[in-house]
Structures are given as C-alpha cells and as structure tokens.
C-alpha cells in the first residue's frame, strides 16, 4: 500500500506530507448496491476539504464509512497514523472524528443543552465541556437563548447550528459535515459557512465537507474531490476545480456550449 502517494492528476496541488485522514481503495455497499467502488483520497491536517458529487454519487456513504456507521468491505481508512476501518462508531468518536449528519438529526425531545451534553458523551472533563459549551454559545448566540427549549422546536437553521455545535463538543480533530446547507436560506447558509471557516481557523479543526451547494463548498474549501458513481474522478485545489469546464457545467450550473451530455463522467474510459 502506497500511503504516501496521493491519487489524482499530476498538476494537483501537493497535499502536504501529513494527511490526518487517508482513504485507500475503500469499497462499501448498502446490501447489494455497491456505493463506493474503490475510493482513495487524503485530507491534510488543519484544512477544509470538500467532496463534490451528484445525488447518489456516494458522498454521504464516504462520511458514514469514515465514522464507522458503515463497515467497508475493502480498503483502509487511516486516521492520525492508525487504521480505523471496522471500528465501532463510539471508538472513532473517542479518537477524534465527529460527524454532522445530513438532515441535522438532533434529539427532538431533549433540550438544546442536553443535545450538547450528548455531543460530549465520550468526554469526562466537566471543566473542558463547560468551556466548549461557552464557545459554541459564542458561535451561535441563539442557542444560548434557546438552551432550555426542546431541539424539536427549533427552526431548521437553528437545528443545523445545534448539530454543528453538538459535533464540536466532542472536541474533534476532524469534523465530517454532510450537507450543512440543506434546506437553509441563502443568508443562513452564508452564516453557517462563515462559522465553519471560523471553527477551522480558530480551533485548527480539519473539516471534510460534503455539499450539494458547490459554489459555497469551493469557496470555503482549499482542496476538492469530485465523486461520481462511487469513484473519485477529479482531485485538485478548489481554485483550479472552479475553473474546469466540466465542474462549471455539472456542479456550478454554468452551461458550456452545446455539448451537454456528451461528456458525462460516466462515459469516461479511464478511472483514476
């Protein structure tokens, strides 16, 4: 296994010699449906990395496989120098990976504060937990106001804030974020992304971001991977990705001439 080698084209930016999270030929499936067909990529320490892809490309599956909700059939997942594939989700959270699931998934009948306490379930340092709770209340002041309310009564945007805060309370080294802009207004989306950048910058948390909103994702992330039908088909800095014709056409919704449909990724002969 060539752990040092990064997949992708030669002109891609160097990922640094110290990836915190690395996937090598990961294959995973839901029952008979194979969702990941040999995914390899690396996430450099302290960076924001995004995975773009259409519906059903396997983006969420990548995140669920990393956090141990789905066991991969093949391949290795290496986190901070340690293989983590096949471990239980709670072990993985303890190691320092936390997951902001798609669709928020808050505990509806628990209060905001109780939800946050559950985010810190794996920790035993009351002082540190209180400190982190202060910090997330500072990121999202509305959560402090609503701390005694049931999470089910929050608006969608507030629930998203809660889901992010809850994931922060395990004090993660890597945060996996699945569609944080789902169902949010453009304004709220911007606010959420502003905080995501702040978390990355202030706490040095590495963030692996999966997004439908490719504009936003390419804007905040440094490096991007494009996933199609369970494979990584592109790998580049976000600045370069945003310039590519194919990305513009399929993910940014800009039309490029009349050849639409001719250059589907599915028709590519060669997979990297």
């Amino acid at each position: 296994m060539n752990w040092g080698q990064t997949p992708g084209s030669d002109d891609s930016a160097p990922l640094g010699s110290d990836p915190i999270l690395e996937l090598a030929n990961v294959e995973a499936s839901y029952g008979p449906v194979q969702a990941l067909r040999g995914v390899s990529f690396a996430v450099p320490r302290g960076k924001i990395v995004t995975v773009l892809g259409a519906n059903g490309a396997g983006k969420s599956t990548v995140l669920k496989t990393i956090s141990g909700i789905i066991d991969p059939q093949k391949g290795q997942i290496r986190f901070d120098g340690e293989e983590i594939q096949g471990r239980s989700p709670d072990w993985i959270v303890r190691r320092g990976i936390s997951h902001v699931p798609e669709g928020r998934e808050v505990f509806p009948l628990l209060t905001v504060e109780e939800n946050l306490r559950m985010g810190a379930y794996t920790r035993r340092d009351p002082g540190g937990i209180a400190e982190d709770m202060e910090r997330v209340y500072e990121y999202f002041p509305i959560l402090r106001e609503r701390s005694r309310q049931e999470a089910g009564q929050l608006s969608g945007g507030q629930q998203q804030m809660l889901a992010i805060s809850r994931a922060l309370l395990s004090r993660p080294k890597v945060m996996l974020m699945d569609e944080p802009s789902l169902g949010l207004s453009p304004l709220l989306t911007q606010e959420i992304f502003r905080i995501i950048t702040r978390i990355n910058r202030e706490q040095g948390t590495t963030i692996l971001l999966v997004e439908q909103n490719a504009h936003m994702a390419l804007d905040v992330a440094e490096h991007g991977y494009v996933l199609e039908v369970g494979r990584i088909v592109m790998d580049d800095t976000c600045a370069n990705l945003a310039k590519k014709e194919d990305v513009q056409e399929f993910y940014l919704g800009m039309k490029a001439g009349g050849v639409r449909g001719e250059r589907r990724w599915k028709k590519k002969k060669h997979w990297r």
Binding site: R94, P101, F107, L110, G156, R166, S170
Partner: protein, 236 residues
Amino acid sequence: MGLPYWAMILFAIASMAIVGMVAERIVLRPVLGYPAFTVVMITIGLGYVLRGVVTMVPGWGTETYALRTPFSEGILKLGDVVLAVQQLAVIGMTALLCFVLYLFFRFSRIGIAMQATSQNQLAAYYMGIPVRRVNMMIWGLSAAVAAFAGILLAPVTFVHSNMGFIGLKAFPAAVVGGFGSVPGSIVGGLIIGLVEALAGFYLPEGFKDVAAYVVVLVVLLVWPSGIFGETVRKKV
C-alpha cells in the same frame, strides 16, 4: 428463602435486572432497528414462554404465595377515612420510584443518553454513545422497575405466575397518558384506576372490566397520541 424483607427486595431487583439484560442480549438485539411493534410482540411472546416455563416447575409454578411485609396489617384513621398502611406504603414507594426515575432520566448522563438513543438511534451512534450497551442497560432497568412493581403488588394480590397480567391494565394507562411520557403514565394510571373504581361502584355488574377500555377509546378519538403524547414533526 429466609432472607429479610429488604435483602429480598434488593436480590429480586438485581436478579431481574440481569434477566432483563440477558433477554436483551439474546432475544431483542437481533431485532435492533426494527419497528417498535416487532419488539412489543417479541416481549409479549417471551412473557408467555417464561410464564409457561415457571408453571412447569413442580410444586412451585402453580402455587399462590403470600408475601409478608414489614408494613402489614396496620390501619390509619384520618377522621372518617380509613386507610391501610400497606396500601399507603405502596403508594409512597411508587411515588418515590417515579421521583428517582425522573431524576435519573433528567439529570444523569446515562439517563439522558437513554432518552437520546430512543429518540434518534442513528444520531446516538454519531455522538459516540455505545448504543448496544445503552439498550442493554435500558432493558435491565425496565426489568428492575418491573421487579420493584411486582414487590409492591405482591402484598395486595399474592404472588403467582399470572400476576403479570395486571400489565393489561397498565397498557390502557400508558395509552391514555401517552406512550413515552412518564407524567403521562402516572396521570393515565390515576384516570384508569379512578374510572374503574367508580364504575365498579356506581354502574351495574360487568362495567368495571370494560370501563378502562371505553376510556382508552374515547381518549384515542380525542387525542390520538394520548394526553401527554409527544407528536414529533421532523423539520427538513
């Protein structure tokens, strides 16, 4: 077994907690993630099997036993009202149990984690809550509570292998109060108990037994999820 009353209580509760955890491990874990109805049917089935097994034990299963308690036989007079100390003790212990459970679920880390797991199992996994272990503890706890309830009930109804059928009365109480709500089940229990007692006194013979179910029907028509039932709408 010749143990003193309090030691017997502890022993019964502890051993039932273990029975609950073993039942979870063997019978219920394979259906983890299935709808609640599956779990309900399996536990009812398991109840019948265990009851059958107990009645097969010679000279043990089919007998009826009396349980002596330290509170037996006393009477308390408050003006014209005559109350049996026995029953007061049962009420007091029930209230205490409810209060302890309330504190446990409201404030302890593991209690909140139990609620979280029941509300959103997937999210519980994401938080690093060991869902399987928590489930096992939930079944252990509920079996322990059942044992405690059985001990409270024993002086009133005597001990026999079918005393668990009182649970059929608990079911309407839970439905009326709203499933999953602790205050709801208390209120539901009071309503069912009162309605039954009053129906037995004021209405003709036979109404006592159906009264509870009439109440269930009416409540379900008016509040389909019970009086304190939680209706959860998921926001997208």
